[in-house]
């Protein structure tokens, strides 16, 4: 019995790194998540990037965003995988890891009723990705449709740095 208990403990210890990685999986983005996210980042310049694992232009942009995050630790970087069908957390995470975005705040659409999720974010958004929303310290949102130009992101983050009191 004692041996059994010990073995289970060893097993749990061996499994814990795997469980820890699991804990870093993208969070499900559901009804109300958008307001939660805005609230959590209120007062901090935040870049929210919408993308998806099957989107060609996203594959090109994602590593650029990883580099941007590395170069701009003062900006909160949030990614939201907004492909219509979820259940692909593994593929999503693998692409985020490769792009250097594993430590960003990562979400994945977790509601099959994607129209409603998009409507909460921006009623005019029909689901085209990539899409980037730049949320300034004062809450002003600038939306970039399609792939963002790195130069524009840098310009925006510099402007944000200048607003620090």
């Amino acid at each position: 019995m004692k041996r059994h208990f010990l073995a289970t403990l060893i097993l749990l210890a061996a499994l814990s790194p795997a469980l820890a990685v699991e804990a870093g999986a993208p969070k499900p983005f559901e009804r109300g998540s958008w307001q939660e996210l805005l609230h959590a980042h209120a007062g901090h310049p935040t870049l929210v990037h919408f993308w998806g694992v099957t989107c060609g232009p996203c594959k090109v942009e994602l590593p650029q965003l990883g580099q941007f995050m590395k170069d701009h630790p003062d900006i909160d970087v949030v990614t939201i995988s907004a492909d219509l069908v979820p259940n692909l957390p593994d593929a999503t995470r693998s692409m985020l890891d490769k792009a250097g975005l594993a430590s960003a705040e990562n979400w994945i659409f977790g509601d099959g009723f994607a129209e409603r999720l998009r409507f909460e974010i921006d009623p005019a958004w029909q689901g085209d990705i990539p899409r980037t929303m730049l949320i300034a310290r004062d809450g002003t949102i600038t939306t970039i449709e399609g792939s963002a130009e790195l130069a524009d992101l840098k310009k925006w983050s510099e402007a944000q740095a200048a607003t620090i009191r």
Binding site: R3, H4, A7, T8, L11, L12, L15, L19, E22, A25, P28, E30, G52, V53, T54, C55, G56, P57, C58, D83, L84, V85, P86, N87, P89, A91, F109, G110, D111, G112, F113, A114, E115, R116, R118, F119, P123, A124, Q126, G127, D128, I129, P130, R131, E145, G146, S147
Partner: protein
Amino acid sequence: MTSRKTAARIVLATILLGALPDFACAQMSHQHASEAACEDTVVRCASKVTPAFATDGTLWLTWMAGGQISVASSKDRGKSFSAAVQVTRDRLNLDWGPDARPKLAIDAKGDIALAFSIFRDQAFNGQVLTTRSTDGGRSFDPPKPITANNESQRFEAIGFDPAGAVFAVWLDKRNRVPAQQRGEKYDGAGLFFATSKDGGATYSDAQLVADNTCECCRLALAFDGAGHPVVVFRNIFEGGVRDHAIVTFTDLGTPGEVHRVSRDDWQIAACPHHGPSLTISREGTYHVTWYTNGKARKGLFYARSRDGGKTFSDPLPVGQPNRSPSRPQIIAGPQGLAMVWKEFDGEKTSINLMTSRDDGASWSKPAVIADTSDSSDHPLLVTDGRQAYLSWMTKADGYHFQAIEGEP
């Protein structure tokens, strides 16, 4: 004995712990995350359903459910259906993109050609598979690739021409590799086509219609009065502008000149996931609906061409701009034109209808003909030559097949 028991317990513990995250995901998908109501292969669990009428008035459906493609038919215009026949057997990663769906076409003899896309690998490269039935839909050949080329393909459209040949058109990334080898940037995908003279058993070599078109929107296919294929697609024009274009074939193997449908000026390096719809009326008029978010206009639009797609009327806005209008479909039925699209009010998705009895010169006021309060497929239109019908799969309320009643 004791030690063996311990080992067995450890194995069990490992299985349980290992299974936990997956189990949690599976539970979640049942409740919210899936577009489908359930995970079986029956139509009730489908995320995408596509209808087509045979010339004898039989309604055929093909759908995607439980990771498989199935078909069933109805002799009473959708009131009751035959037992489902599963087309696929292997566990395939079916293309679940918003604008992807299985398609079928039925020839005058009742033979069925069917096509769909799968994700072939971990990088989500697509592959178009085709199959056919020569026994009235009782069985299907094992699905096989439409082309030997192995670069990514998606968004196929198929139809029988009046002579009984299958025409297939799709988006294909094969020209990316040579462009990159030359050190050139390659945008989008090529619009390719092939034909089959044996009902879809074998297809001709793929041929290019236009290169560097938008890679992630469904194509619209119709046949003109002479039986020539006409294809509307989201092109990439100069400067990365993803506006719509149209091509009319001069015969089954020869694409004509590509013309522009409208100048919306939507410059975007993104996947709009939102393709056009095309129908050709008895008068020979081309009717097109589409979505754009361009500098010139934003939303859903309709335009018609009375010169075989060379020039189009001024785009007519469709739907209420504050209701996120999307997924437009248009069909020329025996009583005139019908156009449907989705709107969303923050809680419910509604299907809106407009009709025209003067070949698109004027349109009725929009009317809501169906709604649902969870996820739903695109609304589709189909006609048996006597009546037009709405085909719409919803997660909460199941499959709708309803007659379009003249002018609302």
